[in-house]
């Protein structure tokens, strides 16, 4: 009996609770204000819109969880998307294109991790540098051209449906579920919490923290490869210089709104998913209620701050008496 009660109360005091409630409230508000907002079609549109940010935000969550930060996500996504597009243009079979893109993403992600670990430079500095480098390389290899004219098979990845939902949505859900399971039940997943929670203790325990870090950045790179593929395939074209330029702040926003701690040790798939949904929903909802184009950024920023405050209130309640 006591067990049951505590489990129930644990659900209500979960770190994700405020953001979930907040998201639902915003959803309700938009439903009232815009007649076409609360429809199955619109929900699937929102879902489609958030897939790329959502996938990247999950990678960002584990990076933040181990106390890191990745400013290079947008550049790496652009680079992977460009590579994918160019390989497709070169006539490679789609399966090979996908495979190679994922490999490239993973390798470049690991490179981030390697530079951080081997040169002992803080994450934010390394990724600030690679942000510039990856973007420059992407623009350079494309000679500033749009990459377009993809094969049908390649375009199918982003547009065809499996059941009710499109492939990108299903991929996003799959990645989220895999992440949730890994973080909860995989020993490696628990290590991430440990490394982020108390790095010194992790070192003293004999954990190979550098290798954990490299692997996390590699996984992050893998997801960026996937997101890059989806980007090129969904939009049918990709331009190296402008693709996903503000992605790092958007995805960090999602993760932080979802309860991740910038110093590491906390964060959850559920929270991040809801953080992403909230941001995606606001974008969609503001268009639906015909908000002035000049108010979009302001309202988005205000909502991010508000969501952070909501999280804070809950933390305070827990922290002090």
């Amino acid at each position: 009996m006591k067990q049951h009660k505590s489990r129930l109360s644990r659900i209500f005091s979960a770190r994700e609770m405020p953001i979930i409630v907040f998201t639902l409230l915003v959803y309700g508000a938009f439903s009232v204000m815009a007649p076409n907002f609360n429809t199955f079609n619109n929900v699937s549109v929102i879902a489609q819109q958030i897939t790329i940010n959502g996938i990247v935000a999950l990678g960002m969550t584990i990076v933040i969880m181990i106390g890191g930060m990745d400013l290079s996500v947008g550049s790496l996504l652009s680079l992977c998307g460009v590579f994918a597009g160019m390989m497709d243009n070169a006539g490679l079979p789609v399966a090979l294109t996908v495979l190679l893109t994922l490999v490239i993403g993973t390798a470049l992600g690991a490179l981030n991790g390697l530079l951080i670990v081997k040169l002992h430079i803080p994450d934010i500095i390394v990724t600030l540098a690679t942000m510039n480098i990856f973007r420059g390389v992407a623009v350079m290899v494309t000679r500033s051209q749009w990459i377009t004219d993809f094969s049908d098979a390649f375009l199918h990845i982003g547009s065809s449906k499996g059941g009710l939902f499109s492939i990108p949505i299903l991929l996003y859900v799959a990645v989220a579920v895999v992440f949730a399971v890994c973080l909860r039940w995989l020993p490696f997943g628990r290590l991430l919490y440990a490394v982020g929670g108390n790095r010194e203790a992790a070192v003293l325990m004999g954990l190979n923290v550098p290798s954990v870090k490299i692997r996390v950045y590699a996984v992050n790179g893998f997801l960026l490869g996937l997101a890059g593929l989806l980007f090129a395939s969904m939009f049918g074209s990709i331009q190296a210089a402008t693709a996903a330029t503000s992605l790092q702040f958007q995805t960090m926003g999602s993760a932080l709104i979802g309860g991740a701690n910038i110093f590491g040790g906390a964060g959850s798939v559920l929270g991040t998913v809801f953080g992403t949904i909230l941001l995606g929903m606001i974008k969609n909802g503001l268009v639906q209620i015909h908000a002035s184009e000049y108010w979009l950024d302001f309202i988005t920023g205000a909502v991010i701050l508000l969501a952070l405050l909501v999280n804070l209130i809950q933390l305070r309640k827990k922290g002090r008496c």
Partner: protein, 315 residues
């Protein structure tokens, strides 16, 4: 004998110092561009470089303070926009130049204060807060301008961005004064002590009877004010203010500070390091522009440079 060895040690120290490395990089840039870029080594061009870095240089001062205290402000680019637009709109409306400038600075103080209160009083990490306010303040820029550039200022206003005193651009002189002043604050006043103390150990600082939250609010407000000053020089130089004014400045400045050896976790680093960092980036951009090299290479070189500068320091 003893003296000799100590002078030896001193020399070793100088050689190992990161500032030697930074000055070395600058010397290398001069050498390289002196040969490769036409007109690089002319007085006009050197002044040109200084003028170009002056606004970013002004913002780099409070940002260095913030970094030293273990904080960060990712919203400075947006604050440049808000202040520049405020000032520009008043100028366009025919208000006196002095009033417009003061209003711009006041706007900077207010938005900086908002950042400071959220960070200091509500105790949310500065990075997180300023990611949010970055988007919000930029939104404010769009609301204020409705997307149209704000221009048409009185002629006297252009003196700020374009005028000279004794052959030196006014903005460069102001930048120099600001740096000297800021160095003095950091090295010689109690406020400088507080900044370092907070950056190294916030808890102990609080336990020493120092109002940490007040210092933070002051720092962010100061950041807003200096950013506003920079934005005024900027709109005077650009003769207009538009909604995207200053976007991306934050990462440029942080890159410069990191190249200059400021510890991203706070507590250690010197103001002169940031200045050298700003100079390195400014010279690089100018030199590559003069050579007519595509900016694509600029970002790659900048990235590699950042890694080299920071890696060398640790190694």
């Amino acid at each position: 004998m003893v003296q000799q060895s100590s002078s030896h040690a001193k020399m070793l120290c100088v050689l190992k110092s990161r500032y030697t490395l930074l000055i070395g990089i600058i010397a290398l840039e001069f050498l390289l561009f002196g040969f490769l870029a036409p007109y690089f080594l002319t007085l006009g061009n050197i002044l040109n470089i200084l003028r170009q870095i002056s606004e970013i240089g002004m913002i780099s001062i409070p940002l260095t303070f913030l970094l030293l205290s273990g904080h960060m402000d990712l919203s400075v680019g947006s604050i440049v926009g808000v202040c520049g637009i405020t000032c520009g709109m008043l100028l366009r409306a025919g208000q006196p130049v002095v009033l417009a400038i003061l209003a711009g600075i006041a706007a900077g103080a207010v938005v900086g204060f908002i950042n400071g209160v959220i960070v200091g009083k509500l105790k949310i990490q500065a990075v997180v807060v300023t990611i949010g306010t970055q988007v919000m303040f930029r939104g404010l820029c769009y609301i204020m301008t409705s997307g149209r550039a704000v221009s048409g200022y009185p002629l006297s206003f252009y003196v700020l961005g374009g005028g000279d005193i004794l052959g030196l651009p006014i903005s460069v002189l102001v930048l120099g004064l600001c740096y000297v002043g800021a160095w003095f604050v950091l090295e010689r006043t109690y406020f400088g002590r507080y900044i370092l103390a907070i950056g190294n150990n916030q808890n102990t600082t609080r336990y020493s009877g120092i109002r940490v939250d007040r210092v933070k609010i002051l720092l962010f407000t100061f950041c807003g004010i200096m950013t506003a000053v920079a934005s005024i020089f900027l709109i005077s130089r650009l003769s207009s203010a538009e909604a995207t004014l200053g976007s991306g400045y934050e990462l440029d400045i942080i890159t410069a500070a990191l190249i200059g050896g400021i510890d991203i976790n706070g507590g250690s680093g010197k103001l002169q390091g940031t200045f050298l960092g700003i100079l390195i980036i400014g010279i690089l951009r100018n030199g590559l522009n003069l050579m007519g090299l595509s900016v694509i290479y600029q970002s790659i070189i900048l990235g590699v440079l950042l890694l080299v500068a920071v890696a060398k320091r640790k190694g």
